[in-house]
């Protein structure tokens, strides 16, 4: 089996991933927990990453969480990415965050707030 080294740019953490495993499974089989774990099946968008170098193939992912243009620029879900070489990536996380369901205030603008948080997070990256 062919194995590749995956490096998370922000921290320098690495893990090994076989070419037959998706990146999230590879990380879950290691001690690394840097990429958020959600549905593990291309639906929820928790494990959104940006691949900054290396070759990979992808399986179909939920267009509601990764658009075609985002995918073209290297933004993908780790659970749907299979390495074809060593890879470097940045962790993005989900596109939007929700306030707690237990919020006692009627929900207004929670999604917008989260998008702003995300933009700030991307700026920091």
């Amino acid at each position: 089996m062919q194995w590749f080294r995956v490096t998370i740019e922000e921290t320098g953490e690495t893990f090994e991933c076989s070419k037959d495993d998706d990146l999230l499974s590879g990380m879950r089989n290691s001690l690394c927990r840097k990429i958020p774990i959600g549905c593990c099946n291309g639906g929820c968008g928790a494990c959104r990453i940006s691949v900054t170098s290396g070759e990979y193939r992808v399986r179909k992912m939920n267009r509601a969480v990764v658009s075609e243009s985002e995918q073209a620029s290297g933004c993908v879900l780790a659970c749907r990415v299979y390495p074809q070489s060593d890879l470097q990536l940045k962790v993005l996380g989900r596109k939007w965050l929700l306030r707690s369901a237990a919020s006692t205030q009627p929900a207004t603008g929670g999604v917008v707030e989260a998008e702003q948080q995300q933009t700030e997070a991307e700026r920091r990256n």
Partner: protein, 316 residues
């Protein structure tokens, strides 16, 4: 007939990214039975073994995961017409339309409407009865308790769904004042007991037929749930999910709400499924159970007594 009007959940249409892995999951792992598919293969129709009507789960191949719509069976064509009129008159719903008979195979006309939380719902009165294959001297004659040839977890039926949306007040008003549902359980803030965070609604003797949690989104699916008869069957389902390397979200555990025993897991498109056992029998004179938000942990996961992160953030 004492149980009238909206009888029960009739069907849920789930969007899947790739049909082949989805069918492996829903047929071989979960153990639903295929009853029909479109000639182009874009929709496949399934049912649980103990459901008599033609289908209860529809998989549709699409670019986005989630739920297309949820259908309710009503007791008669007359009730269908009456409720369609009352939904229109309520002013609570949008995108009202009639869907012609035959759009779903073996199914009569359906009345479709978008509820305030953004989900599409339907009512229908007719679907062909195909039976549960238990009869030994003809359909429903001298039946065995279960049929031969079941695969995987093999739930008896599609049971309920939990949905996320923003205008919970509007949706609860529609279900209780127009469609005749009762609130079996609710979640509210300790200091504001009139503000609903969650509502668990029943149209039957079940602890819930559908549930909603307030979140600042429209039309999202948290999970689609399938009924198992016992805690032991829930544990057996856990074994099958591990053996098939199906991603488990949480469980086996128990919900405080409904008292049901549960496993949450994901289909190959990231839609959350549940297998569910136990719970109680609901009658219309049963008092509504209230959970305070500070007890939301044990309300959802009674053993852990806290939410896992995925409960609030992972949905399709």
């Amino acid at each position: 007939m004492a149980l009238t009007g909206v009888l029960r959940p009739g069907h849920i249409v789930i969007r899947v990214l790739e049909m082949e892995p989805a069918l492996n999951h829903y047929v071989n792992v979960l153990g639903l039975i295929e009853t029909a598919r479109d000639s182009d293969g874009k929709r496949v129709f399934l049912k649980g073994w103990d459901e008599h009507d033609h289908h209860s789960v529809v998989l549709r191949e699409a670019d986005e995961a989630g739920m297309d719509y949820f259908g309710w069976k009503v007791d008669s064509p007359a009730t269908l017409k009456r409720l369609a009129g009352e939904i229109s008159a309520s002013g609570l719903c949008q995108d009202l339309e009639w869907v012609a008979a035959g759009d779903h195979p073996e199914t009569g006309e359906r009345f479709r409407f978008r509820i305030p939380t953004g989900h599409l719902m339907e009512l229908y009165a007719q679907k062909t009865r195909v039976g549960n294959n238990c009869g030994t001297d003809g359909p429903d004659i001298n039946p065995d308790p279960w049929p031969d040839g079941l695969k995987g977890i093999a739930p008896s039926r599609f049971d309920h769904a939990l949905l996320y949306g923003d205008d919970l007040d509007g949706t609860v008003k529609l279900f209780t004042e127009v469609l005749g549902f009762s609130i079996a359980e609710r979640v509210v803030p300790t200091d504001n007991p009139d503000f609903l965070i969650g509502a668990f609604l029943t149209c039957s003797n079940k602890a819930h037929d559908i549930a909603f949690i307030r979140q600042p989104v429209k039309g999202k699916l948290h999970h689609a749930s399938f009924e198992l008869g016992s805690w032991e069957k829930v544990l057996r389902a856990g074994d099958i999910l591990s053996r098939t390397k199906t991603k488990i979200d949480i469980g086996p555990t128990r919900h405080g709400i409904t008292r049901g025993e549960t496993i949450y897991f994901f289909d190959p498109s990231g839609n959350r499924n549940e297998v569910f056992g136990g719970g109680y029998i609901y009658y219309p004179d049963k008092p509504t159970i209230t959970w305070y938000d500070r007890a939301l942990g044990p309300a959802i996961f009674y053993h852990d007594r806290e939410l896992n992160e995925a409960f609030l953030t992972v949905f399709t």
